[in-house]
C-alpha cells in the first residue's frame, strides 16, 4: 500500500486539481516556498500512468526540469529556462509524479536560511517570523505546509536535513553516488547529493527507492551489487537489523531546547529496545573548516561558467567580452556566493594548495576512517542536525559565520559520503526539533528502520499552516 494513497490522482482529476490549486493559493502567499509554481506545465512532463500518478511534488530550483526556470536562487540565472530534465526528476515523472514548481533556496545552495535567495523570502510553516532553514528551505516548507507530500532538495553540507529539522519533516541525504547528480547544478561536486524532503518515513523511503541507481550520464553514480531496481533494494535491506545506536557525546554547544530534545530522543530509542551508547567523533572540530575548504574550492570552478554570455543575467552594456563577464558576475552573484568563490580561489592558488586544499583532502580521508572505526562499534549514529531550532529572519537570527560553524554536525555525512536521515523528534517551545541518524555507505535502510520505529513512539506533527486535507 503506497504511503501516497491520498495524493494519488490528485492532479490528473480536474476536480481535485482545482481544489489543490485553491489550497496552494491560500497557503503559498504566507510561506513563499516557490520561485515558480506551474502544475499545468508540470503535468505535460509526467507519465499519465505509474505508481505516483498525479502526485504533486516540488523541486528545489537547483535541479533542471525542462521548461521550468532554473535559477538556483541567483540573479545570475534570471530568466534561464532549462532545456533538459535532471535524471532524478525524469524517474519520478516516469512514475507519474507531477512537478508543481521550483522551490526557493539559498543562492546556489550556499546558506542555512534560504534568506540569501535573490527572489523571495521563505517562511517557516510553524512560525512565519522564522526561517525554514536552508538551503533547501523552499522544499522543506512546501512539504511542511502540506502543498506537496514530498520535494526534492540537494544536500552539500546539510541543506536537506537542516530545513527538514526546522520544519518538522523528514530529510534524507543518500550515500554519495547512489542518486544521479545529472541535472543537479553543481555547488561542490564531490559533496553534492540529491536529497528528499517528505512528510513521512514511508514516503521518504518510497521516493528514495525510485530515484536511486546508476546513471550513465553521471559517471560518479554507483550501483551497489545486486540491488538494482526498487525490489532489489528492499530485498537487500530486509535482513539487517539495527541493535546498537551510538549518540554523539561531548560538549556539543546545543541550545537548551535542542539539548532537552536530544536527551529525550535517546530515552525513546532506549525504550524501543536499542542499545544506546555514547560515542566520540574525534574529528568533529575539523568538519566545518575542511568542508568550507573543499566546498568553496570546487565551487570556485563550478560557478565559473556563469558569465552572462550564453544564458542568464546579462548586463545592459559592455565594451568587450571581458567586461561583460566582469559585470555579469559582480551584478549577478550575491555577497555570500562571492565570498565563497574568493575563498575557493584562495585555497587553490598554486603554492598554497598543500597548505589548504590538499590538507583538507587528507583530513577528509581521516574523517572517513574515523567513521569506519565508529561503525565497527555501532550500527547507526544519532547526532544533532543543528545546534538551534529555526531562527528568526534577519539580524535577530544567526549571522553567516555562526551559521557556518553550526554546520559541523551535518557536513560530516557529506565529507564521509555516508547516508543520513533527519527526522522530527517532537516540539520544544512550540517549534519542531529534528535529529539525524547516520549509517555506513549504502545503509539507508538502517536509517528508515530506526526512524519508522521512532515515529511509532513519537509521531510527526503537522505544522499550524498545514491544513491540507491530503496529508
Amino acid at each position: 500500500m503506497s504511503s501516497f494513497t491520498r495524493w494519488i490522482g490528485l492532479l490528473t482529476d480536474p476536480k481535485t486539481f482545482d481544489s489543490y490549486m485553491r489550497y496552494v493559493e491560500q497557503v503559498e502567499p504566507r510561506i513563499g516556498a516557490f520561485i515558480q509554481f506551474d502544475p499545468h506545465l508540470g503535468l505535460r512532463g509526467s507519465s499519465p500512468e505509474g505508481l505516483l500518478r498525479g502526485v504533486p511534488f516540488a523541486v528545489k530550483d537547483i535541479l533542471a526540469v525542462k521548461g521550468f526556470r532554473l535559477t538556483c536562487g541567483s540573479r545570475i540565472l534570471e530568466g534561464f529556462v532549462s532545456p533538459y530534465t535532471a535524471t532524478v526528476v525524469e524517474k519520478l515523472q516516469r512514475a507519474g509524479a507531477v512537478v508543481v514548481g521550483k522551490t526557493n533556496m539559498d543562492e546556489f545552495g550556499m546558506g542555512s536560511s534560504t534568506d540569501t535567495s535573490f527572489y523571495k523570502q521563505t517562511c517557516n510553516p510553524w512560525d512565519p517570523e522564522r526561517v525554514a532553514g536552508g538551503s533547501s528551505g523552499g522544499s522543506a516548507a512546501a512539504v511542511a505546509s502540506g502543498m506537496v507530500p514530498f520535494a526534492l532538495g540537494s544536500d552539500t553540507g546539510g541543506s536537506v536535513r537542516q530545513p527538514a529539522a526546522f520544519c518538522g519533516i523528514y530529510g534524507l541525504k543518500p550515500t554519495y553516488g547512489v542518486v544521479s547528480r545529472y541535472g543537479l547544478v553543481a555547488y561542490a561536486s564531490s559533496l553534492d547529493v540529491v536529497g528528499v524532503c517528505a512528510a513521512s518515513v514511508e514516503m521518504t523511503e518510497e521516493i528514495f527507492a525510485l530515484i536511486r541507481g546508476k546513471d550513465e550520464r553521471d559517471q560518479t553514480s554507483l550501483e551497489e551489487a545486486g540491488t538494482s531496481g526498487v525490489e532489489g533494494f528492499h530485498e537487500k535491506n530486509s535482513n539487517k537489523i539495527v541493535r546498537k545506536i551510538g549518540f554523539v557525546s561531548g560538549n556539543l554547544g546545543l541550545d537548551s531546547g535542542v539539548e532537552r530534545a536530544y536527551q529525550k530522543t535517546q530515552e525513546v530509542l532506549r525504550s524501543l529496545g536499542y542499545e544506546v551508547q555514547p560515542i566520540e567523533l574525534s574529528m568533529l572540530e575539523y568538519y566545518a573548516p575542511v568542508y568550507y575548504t573543499i566546498a568553496t574550492a570546487e565551487a570556485s570552478a563550478n560557478l565559473a561558467r556563469y558569465t552572462g554570455i550564453r544564458y542568464g543575467y546579462r548586463p545592459e552594456y559592455a565594451e568587450n567580452p571581458e567586461e561583460l563577464v566582469r559585470k555579469a558576475r559582480s551584478e549577478g552573484f550575491g555577497e555570500e556566493v562571492k565570498l565563497r568563490i574568493l575563498l575557493g580561489t584562495f585555497v587553490l592558488r598554486s603554492g598554497f594548495q598543500d597548505q589548504y586544499y590538499q590538507r583538507a583532502q587528507r583530513i577528509r580521508t581521516a574523517i572517513r576512517k574515523d567513521f569506519d572505526r565508529v561503525f565497527q562499534e555501532v550500527d547507526v549514529i544519532l547526532s544533532p542536525v543543528f545546534p538551534t531550532q529555526a531562527f528568526k529572519h534577519g539580524s535577530e537570527g544567526l549571522d553567516p559565520f555562526q551559521q557556518k560553524v553550526a554546520d559541523r554536525f551535518t557536513t560530516a555525512a557529506n565529507l564521509a559520503g555516508i547516508p543520513a536521515l533527519s527526522f522530527p523528534a517532537g516540539l520544544e517551545d512550540g517549534l519542531p526539533v529534528g535529529f539525524q541518524l547516520m549509517a555506513p555507505v549504502f545503509g539507508e535502510e538502517l536509517l528508515f528502520q530506526v526512524a519508522r520505529r521512532f515515529a511509532e513512539a513519537v509521531p510527526p506533527l503537522k505544522a499550524p499552516f498545514n491544513t491540507s486535507p491530503w496529508s
Binding site: A186, D218, T307
Partner: protein
C-alpha cells in the same frame, strides 16, 4: 657559442565519432552552434561522460610514442576564463596523464636524434571566437572536441629538426587513424618553447611561440627566434620570459604577454569523473589499434621491394598510398615499376585534377592491370601513359579502354615478322644501305612498319626483328676530344685531333671494324679542359638517342683525362641504369706517341661488348667506378676511386634513365642555367665569409663546400667565420652541400664547429667527392621540378654511403 633548446607542445583533435564528454558529433564546417548540447555548452547541472574511444586513441598515440602508460589515468580541472570556453575550466590532465617518458626518433641531415616525450594527455577543446567589427561572435561546435596534447622535452635544437619531428608525428597520427593532421584547419596545432644560452650553461629563459599553423612556420619561427635571442645575448642583453606570436605576414615573432601576467591554473582533481582504469582488456584493444608506422614501413619497402629512398619515402608518406601500392604488387605489379609510375605519372594526373589517390578513379586493381600489361609488353610506355589518362577520364579499366579503341598492341613476333618482311622486300635499296653499315634509314624503315600496323606494333619487337633480319648490333665509339684523339703539332703541343687517330687504331684491329661505329662529337675538336655545357648537351642527347634506338650493344666514349671525373660521374647519374655498358676511357698522350691509347680503347671495346651494363671507366688495364674518380698519379698516369670502399658496389643510380626528349639547345640552356648558380669552394685558413657573400650577391645559390677533415670550418665570430655567409644565404635560399678534403664520410657530430655547420643548415654529402656532387647537382636540376625536389635528390644516397 650559443646552444638552443626547443620543446614542442602539439595538440591533435582526435577523430572520434562524438565529443569527449558528450554525444555531440565531432564535425567541422557545420553551421555555427549546431553541434552542441547542454553538456558541451556548459549549461548548469550537466556532467561530463568520458568518451572511451577518445581515451583509447590517447593510449594508442602514447603507445606509438613509446610512453610508459598509466594504469590509472586521472582528470583535472584547469581553471581560467576565456569566452569560448563554456565552463571556464578545461577538463585536462595534470598528475596522472595517459602516458609519460616516451620518445620519438628523428633524423635531419643524417643526424639521428631521440627526442624525449615528456607526456601525453587528453583534454577538451574550446570553441572559437570570431571578431567582426564591434561584435564578438562565438561558435561552440568545436567545444568539447577531444584534444590530445603531446609535450616533448627541450631536445630539439633548430627549426628544421622541429619541422621534421612535426612532419613525422603528423604522418604517424594519420597512419594510426586518430587525427587527420590538418594544420591549416587546426586539427593539428603546435606551440613551441625556445631558450638560448651559452653552450654548457643549460636552459635559458623560456619563450613560448604561438600561432604556428604549418610545419614550415614552425621552422621559420624557431630559427627567427633563435637568431633573435642570440643577438640579444651577444649584445649583453637578457631574454624576457614571454609568449610571442608568429606573424606570418612579416615572418617575425612578436611579443604577446609576459610571464608576469600568466595564469595560475589552480589545477585540482575533476570530481565529476572517476579515475580511468586501463585494464587488461582495454590495453589489448589499444594494441590492436597499432599499425606498422611510417618509418618501419619505409624500411621494409627499401629491403622488401628494393626501392630507392625517394620512392620508399614517397610511397609511405600516406598510409593510403602505401596500402594502394602493396595491393597493386599483390595483384602482380612489379614493385619498382609500380612505385615509379605512382610517383611520376599518376602523381602528375592527381596534381592536375586536384585529387588524392583515394578519390581518383584509379584503384589498385586498375593500376595493377596497367602495370601487368606494361610488364608483359602488351603495351608500350607511351601508350601506357595515354591509357592511364583515360582511366582518369573514363573511370574504366585499362583493358576495357584498349578494347574500346582497338588499341591493343601487337607484340607477337609471328604477327610482326611477316609485316617487316613485306616492308624489307619493298625497299631493297634501303636494306642494302643499312647492311653496308649506314644506319641513317633505320628510322625510315621503323616508320613504315608502324604505319603498316596503324602504330600498334610494339617498337621494341620491331627493332628486335629488324636487328635480326639485317644483322645489326654495333658498339658506338663516341670521340669526345682529349689527348686520346689528339696529336702533337709541330711546336710540340698536344692539340685536338678529331677522330682520325682513333679510326686508325681500329683499322689496325680489323676484328672490331665491323662492329664498331665511330662518331665524332661534339662536332668540333676539343681538349678535355675546353668542355662546355653545349658539349655535354650534345654527348648526353646522343647517348640518350642511342639507348632508345636499341641498335647499340655498347657505347664507348673517349674523353680527355682532366675532366673525366666530371663527365663520367654525370653519366653515372643520368645513365647509371642503362641496359647496356657505357664505357669511358682516356689516354695521357696522343695515340701516335705510344700504345696506351690503343690499349685503353681496346679494353673499353672489350668491356662494352661483354661487360656489365651501366657506366664504367677503364684505364691502364683497370676498371673504375664512374663516381669519385681521381688521379692517383700523372706520370705514369693512374686513377683511383676516392672513398672506394664506401662506394656501394651494387647501388644503381638513384635517378631514372635520362630520356632526353629535348633539343640540344634547350638542354644546353638548362645546363648553363644550372652551372651558373653553382660554385665550388675549398675552405682554407683565411677564407672570409664576406667572400662567399660576394658570390651570393653575384647569383650563386648552391655552394659545394669542401670542408677541412670530414666536416669542419671556421664558424667562430670573426671576419674569417663562414657563419655570416650561412645567415645571409638562408635569407636568399642558398644551399651549402658539404664534401670533405679527406677521404671519409662527411660527419657533423664530431666537433663543435661541425655541429654549428649542421645547425646552420649545411647539407652533408656523405662519401661523395666534390666533382661527383657537382654533377649530381646538375642531374638533380634536370629531374626536379622544384627546389624541394632538388634537395630530395641530393639527399638520396646513390653510389655512396650517406
Amino acid at each position: 657559442m650559443y646552444q638552443s633548446f626547443i620543446g614542442l607542445e602539439i595538440h591533435i583533435q582526435l577523430l572520434t565519432q562524438s565529443k569527449v564528454f558528450c554525444s555531440c558529433p565531432v564535425r567541422f564546417g557545420d553551421e555555427p552552434n549546431t553541434n552542441v548540447c547542454p553538456i558541451c555548452m556548459g549549461y548548469p547541472g550537466v556532467l561530463p561522460s568520458l568518451n572511451r574511444e577518445a581515451v583509447k586513441y590517447g593510449y594508442v598515440v602514447a603507445r606509438a610514442l613509446n610512453c610508459q602508460l598509466s594504469p590509472v589515468t586521472v582528470f583535472e580541472r584547469k581553471n581560467y576564463f576565456y569566452p569560448d570556453m563554456p565552463k571556464n575550466y578545461q577538463i585536462s590532465q595534470y598528475t596522472q596523464p595517459i602516458g609519460r617518458n616516451g620518445y620519438m626518433d628523428i633524423e635531419f641531415r643524417k643526424k639521428k636524434k631521440r627526442v624525449r616525450i615528456h607526456e601525453v594527455h587528453l583534454e577538451e577543446d574550446a570553441g572559437k571566437s570570431i571578431h567582426a567589427g564591434d561584435l564578438s561572435l562565438l561558435d561552440y561546435n568545436r567545444a568539447g572536441t577531444p584534444l590530445l596534447e603531446i609535450v616533448t622535452e627541450p631536445d630539439l635544437e633548430i627549426g628544421e629538426e622541429a619541422e621534421v619531428l612535426l612532419q613525422n608525428f603528423r604522418r604517424m597520427v594519420r597512419y594510426l587513424g586518430v587525427c587527420d593532421g590538418n594544420m591549416e584547419e587546426g586539427s593539428l596545432r603546435c606551440d613551441a618553447n625556445v631558450s638560448v644560452n651559452l653552450r654548457g650553461q643549460g636552459l635559458g629563459k623560456k619563450v613560448e611561440i604561438k600561432n604556428l599553423n604549418s610545419s614550415r612556420f614552425v621552422r621559420l619561427a624557431l630559427n627567427y627566434e633563435i637568431a633573435r635571442q642570440e643577438e640579444i645575448l651577444s649584445r649583453g642583453g637578457t631574454i624576457l620570459q614571454e609568449t610571442r606570436l608568429w606573424n606570418e605576414n612579416r615572418d617575425i615573432t612578436e611579443g604577446m604577454r609576459t610571464k608576469e601576467s600568466a595564469h595560475d591554473y589552480r589545477y585540482f582533481p575533476e570530481p565529476d569523473l572517476p579515475p580511468f582504469k586501463a585494464d587488461h582488456a582495454f590495453l589489448e584493444e589499444v594494441e590492436a589499434c597499432l599499425v606498422e608506422l611510417p618509418d618501419q614501413r619505409k624500411n621494409r619497402f627499401l629491403t622488401q621491394y628494393n626501392l630507392s629512398e625517394t620512392l620508399a619515402e614517397f610511397l609511405t608518406a600516406e598510409k593510403s598510398t602505401a596500402d594502394f601500392f602493396e595491393r597493386a604488387v599483390e595483384l602482380g605489379a612489379d614493385p619498382v615499376g609500380a612505385a615509379t609510375w605512382l610517383s611520376s605519372d599518376v602523381q602528375k594526373l592527381l596534381n592536375r585534377q586536384g585529387l588524392t589517390l583515394l578519390e581518383s578513379p584509379l584503384n589498385p586493381e586498375r593500376f595493377a592491370e596497367l602495370m601487368v600489361l606494361l610488364q608483359e609488353g602488351k603495351i608500350h610506355g607511351k601508350l601506357g601513359k595515354q591509357v592511364l589518362e583515360l582511366v582518369f577520364q573514363e573511370g574504366k579499366s585499362p583493358k576495357e579502354i584498349l578494347k574500346d579503341r582497338n588499341w591493343e598492341q601487337i607484340t607477337d613476333p609471328s604477327v610482326i615478322g611477316p609485316i617487316v618482311e613485306k616492308i624489307l622486300t619493298k625497299n631493297p635499296h634501303v636494306v642494302e644501305t643499312i647492311r653496308r653499315g649506314d644506319l641513317k634509314p633505320w628510322g625510315f624503315l621503323v616508320g613504315l612498319i608502324m604505319k603498316e600496323t596503324s602504330g600498334r606494333a610494339d617498337p621494341r619487337v620491331v627493332h628486335e626483328i629488324l636487328k635480326e633480319r639485317l644483322q645489326v648490333s654495333f658498339i658506338y665509339l663516341l670521340t669526345f676530344g682529349g689527348a686520346i684523339s689528339g696529336r702533337r703539332d709541330p711546336d710540340g703541343m698536344v692539340v685536338p685531333g678529331g677522330s682520325a687517330a682513333i679510326r686508325k687504331i681500329l683499322e689496325q684491329n680489323p676484328s672490331w671494324k665491323d662492329v664498331v661505329r665511330v662518331e665524332e662529337l661534339p662536332g668540333e675538336d676539343i681538349l678535355s679542359e675546353e668542355i662546355t655545357p653545349a658539349d655535354w648537351a650534345t654527348l648526353i642527347l646522343r647517348t640518350a638517342t642511342l639507348l632508345q634506338e636499341g641498335n647499340a650493344k655498347g657505347i664507348v666514349i673517349t674523353h680527355g683525362t682532366d675532366t673525366l671525373s666530371y663527365t663520367a660521374s654525370l653519366f653515372y647519374w643520368l645513365f647509371g641504369n642503362a641496359e647496356i655498358p657505357i664505357v669511358f676511357t682516356a689516354a695521357s698522350l696522343p695515340p701516335e706517341e705510344g700504345s696506351e691509347a690503343a690499349q685503353n680503347i681496346l679494353q673499353a671495346l672489350q668491356q662494352s661488348e661483354k661487360g656489365e651494363k651501366g657506366v664504367s671507366v677503364v684505364f691502364g688495364g683497370e676498371t673504375y667506378k664512374p663516381v669519385n674518380l681521381r688521379f692517383l698519379s700523372l706520370d705514369p698516369m693512374r686513377f683511383y676511386n676516392w672513398n672506394a670502399e664506401r662506394i656501394r658496389n651494387e647501388s644503381p643510380s638513384p635517378f631514372p634513365l635520362f630520356g632526353g626528349g629535348l633539343g640540344v639547345e634547350t638542354l644546353r640552356e638548362r645546363i648553363e642555367g644550372i652551372v651558373r648558380k653553382i660554385f665550388i669552394v675549398k675552405v682554407f685558413p683565411g677564407l672570409q665569409g664576406d667572400q662567399l657573400i660576394c658570390l651570393i650577391n653575384a647569383g650563386v645559390r648552391f655552394f659545394i663546400l669542401e670542408l677541412f677533415d670530414t666536416g669542419t670550418a671556421n664558424l667562430r665570430e670573426s671576419p674569417f667565420s663562414l657563419k655570416k655567409a650561412f645567415e645571409i644565404g638562408k635569407t636568399q635560399g642558398v644551399r651549402f652541400f658539404c664534401t670533405s678534403q679527406q677521404e671519409g664520410v662527411v660527419d657533423f657530430s664530431g666537433y663543435v664547429t661541425a655541429h654549428a655547420l649542421w645547425k646552420e643548415g649545411a647539407i652533408p654529402m656523405g662519401a661523395l667527392a666534390t666533382e661527383s656532387v657537382y654533377t649530381k647537382l646538375i642531374a638533380a636540376f634536370l629531374y626536379a621540378e622544384s627546389e624541394e625536389e632538388i634537395l630530395q635528390w641530393m639527399e638520396e644516397n646513390g653510389a655512396s654511403i650517406g
